[in-house]
């Protein structure tokens, strides 16, 4: 039988028997008694458990902050782990991110501090001189209830004041190469099994034969089934090690994103083509969640409040589905049938999402409404795509999240607008049509009235930004684009 192998503080750790859903945080705190990482929420929302995982990406080491509370231990196989205890130099001196936090009074109660330090460490590895925007992004998954964040931001702004610590990346890369597998990792613990195939064919066959298995990608939702719902997951198939699924393939007119590509990587690939989605990408959960979760996972999960789908539907994306050796494509919107129900057959999974590149004259926006800017679930997420010929609407696609049981297009609104001029009158009628397209729910995020009203108003905002004459800049219609 196989064992899980990973690197911690330069040593290879090998674990041959563990419950596959044991979280990385449980393992660190309870098994290793390495208690620097804290549990604040056990759902990836507070960041007190943040740690850093390094992986080889070709010849470079990629350091990523992750939430240990919702990562299952076997997902760590083949990677290098850094916890807050890893950072001090051998002479006991603090790492620049730690010393800067001390010098700028960045800790008060200290409970969130290890998580902040690890988010800062991941930031430092890629960008030791971050600006405020990069800092906000890097820390978006860390809650602090004491400081109000200003001293933590200051600590991040002064990382270059400290000498860079020695690193032994060459050794680490060599050690990581040693750990790479060329065949499936299979673990058995009691009646629970965990399989991590490394080829797409193996995965497809394994899942075809075990359609009752739970497919696991980033674990940012499945992790909560275990930590919050206390569900048993006796049979897990993990996508993360399948080489083909980790690829982003750019063609002349579209980009294909495999099922194991993280949200971070997917957004990075899409951003140059879709700068209008930048705010949604930035506000999608947090860095640790985007580093773990996959774009296809968000799609396949099919939550009505997933933020990626409205945008992807608006730009006419497709999904490639795979069942055994057979594959087929579907318009993304057709994947969703009803609340948490999709068109996947038994043993079939989403292999990739294919995002067409936008035509040059496509006007696009994606707006997210929530109580908080960072890491909040949308009350409404709305994506608008429009092409005009002169004043006339020749192509329009509107998709909304948070407004129905599934991510859904505004069909009546689209039908009305198509062929009409894009003017003050038609946009008002379109706002009314939008109300007929959706019957949103009331919950703790917003009332149905607010959702309906705000969604229509977002259509108005889109109009103001894209009307043929006197279009307004973002800073005139979006508070988050206002700088002073």
């Amino acid at each position: 039988m196989d064992s899980i192998r990973f690197i911690l503080d330069g040593e290879v750790i090998e674990i041959d028997s563990v419950e596959p859903t044991r979280t990385l945080l449980q393992y660190l705190r309870e098994d290793l008694r390495r208690v620097g990482s804290k549990e604040g929420c056990a759902e990836g929302d507070c960041g007190a458990c943040t740690l850093v995982v390094a992986e080889l990406d070709g010849e470079t080491l990629c350091y990523r902050a992750l939430n240990a509370c919702i990562q299952f231990l076997p997902m760590l196989d083949g990677k290098a782990l850094f916890t807050v205890e890893s950072l001090k130099a051998s002479d006991g001196s603090l790492h620049p991110v730690q010393q800067s936090m001390v010098d700028h009074h960045g800790s008060q109660c200290g409970f969130c501090t290890p998580g902040f330090v690890m988010s800062m460490f991941a930031l430092y590895q890629h960008n030791p001189t971050p600006d405020r925007g990069a800092i906000d992004d890097a820390l978006s998954g860390n809650l602090c209830r004491c400081t109000g964040y200003r001293p933590i931001v200051d600590a991040c702004l002064h990382l270059q004041d400290y000498p860079a610590p020695a690193n032994n990346e060459r050794q680490l890369k060599a050690a990581l190469r040693e750990l790479q597998r060329d065949r499936r990792l299979s673990l058995q613990h009691g009646t629970a099994s965990f399989h991590a195939p490394v080829t797409l064919d193996d995965l497809a066959e394994l899942y075809r034969q075990n359609p009752e298995a739970r497919i696991l990608a980033g674990g940012t939702d499945v992790g909560l089934w275990v930590t919050k719902q206390l569900r048993e997951l006796p049979n897990i198939i993990y996508l993360g090690q399948v080489a083909e699924l980790g690829q982003i393939k750019a063609a002349a007119d579209e980009i294909e994103i495999g099922a194991a590509v993280t949200l971070s990587d997917a957004f990075e690939a899409l951003q140059p083509h879709y700068p209008e989605f930048g705010e949604m990408f930035r506000r999608f959960a947090s860095v640790p969640v985007r580093n773990a979760g996959t774009l296809v996972g968000n799609i396949a999960n099919g939550s009505p409040i997933g933020d990626s789908m409205p945008a992807l539907i608006a730009v006419n994306s497709r999904v490639r589905l795979r069942l055994g050796q057979e594959s087929r494509e579907l318009a993304l919107e057709d994947l969703y049938l009803d609340y948490m129900q999709n068109a996947l057959r038994s043993g079939e999974f989403v292999e990739a999402v294919i995002v067409p590149l936008p035509p040059g004259d496509l006007q696009l926006r994606c707006y997210k409404l929530s109580k908080r800017f960072d890491q909040d679930i949308s009350a409404v997420c709305a994506a608008f795509a429009l092409r005009l010929d002169g004043e006339q609407v020749v192509d329009v696609r509107i998709a909304l999240g948070g407004m129905a049981a599934i991510p859904k297009r505004a069909r009546q609104t689209e039908e009305y607008l198509l062929g009409e001029p894009w003017n003050d009158f038609t946009q008002v009628t379109a706002m009314q049509k939008l109300a007929a397209d959706f019957a949103p729910l009331t919950d703790m995020r917003a009332s149905s009235e607010y959702r309906a009203r705000a969604a229509a108003n977002l259509l108005h905002r889109f109009y103001l930004e894209t009307r043929p004459v006197n279009a307004l800049p973002a800073a005139a219609v979006n508070v988050f684009a206002v700088t002073g």
């Binding site: 804290k38 604040g40 759902e43 916890t83 109660c109 501090t113 809650l143 004491c146 919050k228 109580k371």
Partner: protein, 767 residues
């Protein structure tokens, strides 16, 4: 270790900063576990109000890993953990009063096993009518405590005489403390029926008392130890008790070490929060906006039990004046019993709610009169020599609000920015900016006189190192750092030579909660007293040994100067020891001059007041109700600050935390009384992007006129009122849509939905 500065007024880092950043600071869950430790999970009520007809726990007991179940029947002593009134069952006994009330506990070999087993319980309820909100509770006169009234003069006639009157209502929601470290207790049995409790609590002595009561023990059988909390904010003042008790009861029954660490959702479902309030007011004022009388009814959502609601509501009543002289006043306050979590302390302790009400009223008066609210605020400030008595009869002797606000207005360029906001709004069809200045006056001391006492122990060891222990708990506020600075100063040492240690009920007894912002005022003085006694003994000894007057002996930078000689502190200490000089001491402090008649609601409950003011500028989206804070400027009075970095940390942290309360943090319950915002996924405290890039915080130079520790002022709670300016800046932005002539009906928290509601209501009114 880098050299640290000793003197007060220096921004030495938090005493645990280097441990925090290395993950080496130990919290209760980090303590190495004893062999045989078992873990608890709690079974919670599914009903808001119901009789328990039967409980079937057979499947729970049979579940894998389960050691035992504990119910109310297993409590050997009193089934109550209420801090003031005995209405807080430890485990529900036949009656449940809110969704989330603990009914039973499962003891298992792992936390996961315990949590899984909980789900197997079968409880048969007979539902009873439930009161789920303040309005329903008021209507039914459902109180946890009798209504309170404070009267000064004759508000009714003042209102009759007033040239202008305004009547209205306003509500503000509650707030979850959201300490990052959830509630936790870990209990180990000791010999002879004693037990040792590690508990994340702001009030170790009360934990000692409630555990002893629940087990029928003497207080001297229970030791409570607390090194540090991962945040408290009031949420661990009284409400750590239920967990301390359940863990202790289980440990007693099973004779095993027991840990009860709550899952975040359970923590939020079980524990109380900041009280939401509803207000109905009527105020009279003249053409300038000068208030001559006010009547207000304030109704606090207490939840199912009294807990600390009495003192919370008292503080709300005593802060309705904020910084203003109100003339004739009648305040009626109701502690509304609802079938929800029992609301409790949260930073400010009712003060913010009371003060928010008068700020809302003054903001409204200004708009009625077409004035900038800041002018009407200033007009109504307490004067220095007249119009300076609070409605509860205390004379405001240390008023600095006029000069403080003037300084802030100037430094933040208020008038220029007010004009710039107006210009922006004139040309902006969708986005609107708003600006507001709000003042703070906050009373310092426990409203219960006898809580205002503290003790400390200082040990000087023969190598010259010093250990200090006192009654205050460290929850991140830097109390141990400040107390260590005080002790270091007294003994002329570097702070690195002074170590603060875990709070321990077997060291300093009968301590008060670390609450009401009094931590360093009380414990700093007590520690100073202890250190001073040692210093005096050492000075006498040095005088005897080297000649010279004890009063002339100087302790500085680790050296004792006496009769022209310079003796290293450690050397003198060693010699003193050999000459049988006592090198440790206790210390004690009680705040002088306090009195309070709680029936009449009159007296001088506060030793002094802390002041501050903030200016906030926001931009709102009139289509969606989204807002962004663009700039914050704060000037705050921390007296002669012991540690400016720590004080600024408290101020900024409170500002952002209070902004969360008034904007993004919304507590929601479903129609069955189930809290639906019980995790960070649904309950949104501020994050880093909510901290404005332009965030200017300064300390107001103001030595305390009262003899406080190093003439500093308490700084824990007062700054929580500063972000009122965010709320009123939002209201200002909304009001711009009707030329600042109509008062927007903006509720708190001002979520995007609340803001859009206010906008739509305003537009409807204009139309």
């Amino acid at each position: 270790m880098q050299a640290r500065e000793t003197a007060p007024g220096k921004s030495v880092p938090h005493e645990s900063a280097a441990l925090h950043v290395a993950g080496e600071a130990s919290y209760v869950d980090d303590i190495p576990e004893l062999a045989g430790t078992c873990y608890l999970a709690l079974g919670l009520s599914e009903q808001a109000h119901a009789k328990i007809k039967s409980i079937d726990l057979a499947a729970v007991e049979a579940a894998p890993g389960v050691v035992a179940v504990v119910t109310a029947a297993d409590i050997p002593g009193v089934n109550d953990c209420g801090p003031i009134i005995a209405d807080d069952p430890i485990l529900a006994d036949g009656l449940v009063q809110y969704v989330g009330q603990p009914v039973f506990a499962v003891v298992a070999e792992s936390q996961t096993a315990a949590r899984k087993a909980v789900k197997l319980a079968k409880i048969d309820y007979q539902p009873l009518p439930a009161i789920l909100d303040v309005a329903a509770g008021r209507q039914q006169q459902s109180w946890v405590l009798p209504p309170m009234q404070l009267r000064r003069g004759d508000a009714d006639s003042a209102l009759t005489r007033a040239p202008h009157k305004l009547k209205g209502g306003f509500s503000v929601g509650g707030q979850e403390q959201f300490y990052l470290e959830g509630q936790i207790s870990y209990v180990a049995l000791r010999e002879d029926g004693c037990l040792h409790l590690w508990c994340s609590t702001q009030h170790p002595t009360e934990m000692q008392h409630v555990v002893a009561h629940s087990l029928g023990l003497d207080f001297n059988q229970v030791v409570v130890e607390m090194r540090r909390m991962g945040g408290g904010f009031g949420g661990k003042e009284s409400q750590s008790a239920i967990f301390a008790c359940i863990a202790s009861i289980a440990a007693y029954r099973l004779r095993r070490p027991i840990k009860l660490r709550l899952d975040r959702d359970d923590d939020m479902l079980i524990t109380g929060k900041r009280h939401g309030f509803e207000f109905d007011y009527e105020v009279g004022y003249d053409a300038d906006g000068l208030i001559c009388g006010a009547k207000i009814e304030m109704a606090a959502q207490a939840g199912f039990s009294a807990d600390l609601t009495g003192p919370v509501v008292t503080r709300a009543v005593c802060h309705f004046d904020n910084a203003y002289y109100l003339g004739d006043v009648t305040i009626d306050a109701f502690s509304v019993k609802t079938n929800t979590q029992s609301n409790t302390a949260f930073r400010g302790f009712g003060g913010p709610q009371g003060a928010l009400a008068i700020e809302y009223i003054i903001d409204s008066i200004a708009r009625e009169l077409g004035k900038d609210p800041q002018q009407v605020r200033k007009l109504n400030f307490y004067d220095k020599d007249f119009r300076n008595t609070t409605p509860y009869g205390q004379v405001v002797e240390d008023n600095v609000i006029h000069e403080l606000v003037a300084e802030l207005e100037q430094s933040c360029d208020y008038q220029t920015r007010r004009a710039a906001v107006a210009t922006f709004n004139r040309d902006s069809p969708i986005l609107r900016k708003g600006l507001a200045l709000t003042p703070v006056k906050f009373g310092i001391s426990f409203n219960v006189v006898h809580f205002n006492q503290a003790g400390a122990l200082v040990h000087v060891y023969t190598d010259g190192s010093v250990l200090v222990n006192h009654g205050g708990t460290e929850m991140g506020q830097g109390l141990h750092t400040k107390v260590s600075q005080v002790v270091a100063l007294e003994l002329g040492l570097n702070i690195a030579q002074v170590r603060a240690t875990a709070n321990d009920t077997s060291k300093v007894a009968n301590t008060s909660a670390t609450a009401a912002s009094t931590g360093s005022d009380l414990n700093g003085k007590a520690a100073q007293d202890a250190a001073r006694q040692i210093r005096d003994r050492l000075a006498r000894f040095a005088g005897e040994r080297f000649g010279g007057e004890p009063a002339q002996v100087l302790f500085e930078d680790g050296v004792v100067h006496c009769a022209g000689k310079a003796i290293p502190f450690a050397e003198l200490v060693q010699q003193a020891y050999e000459n049988r000089v006592q090198l440790w001491s206790d210390g004690f402090y009680k705040t002088p001059g306090l009195n309070w008649d709680k029936d009449k609601m009159q007296g001088s409950p506060f030793y002094y007041f802390a002041y501050g003011a903030a200016v906030s500028e926001v931009v709102i989206d009139t289509l969606t109700g989204e807002f962004k804070l663009l700039q914050a400027d704060i000037l705050h009075d921390a007296g002669n600050s012991i540690n400016p970095a720590i004080d600024i940390g408290q101020i900024e942290g409170a500002y952002i935390q209070g902004m969360g309360w008034l904007t993004s943090e919304e507590l929601c319950w479903d129609p069955e009384g189930r809290l639906t915002t019980h995790a960070p996924s649904t309950y949104k405290i501020p994050t880093v992007s909510d901290c404005p890039t332009a965030f200017n915080t300064r300390l107001y130079q103001n030595r305390n006129v009262k003899d406080t520790i190093l003439r500093s002022k308490a700084v824990g709670e007062p700054p929580l009122l500063l972000p009122f300016s965010v709320f009123f800046a939002i209201r200002d932005a909304v009001a711009s849509l009707a030329d600042n002539r109509i008062n927007p009906r903006l509720r708190a928290p001002a979520t995007p939905e609340a803001i859009l509601d206010a906008i739509e209501a305003l537009r409807a009114e204009v139309a």
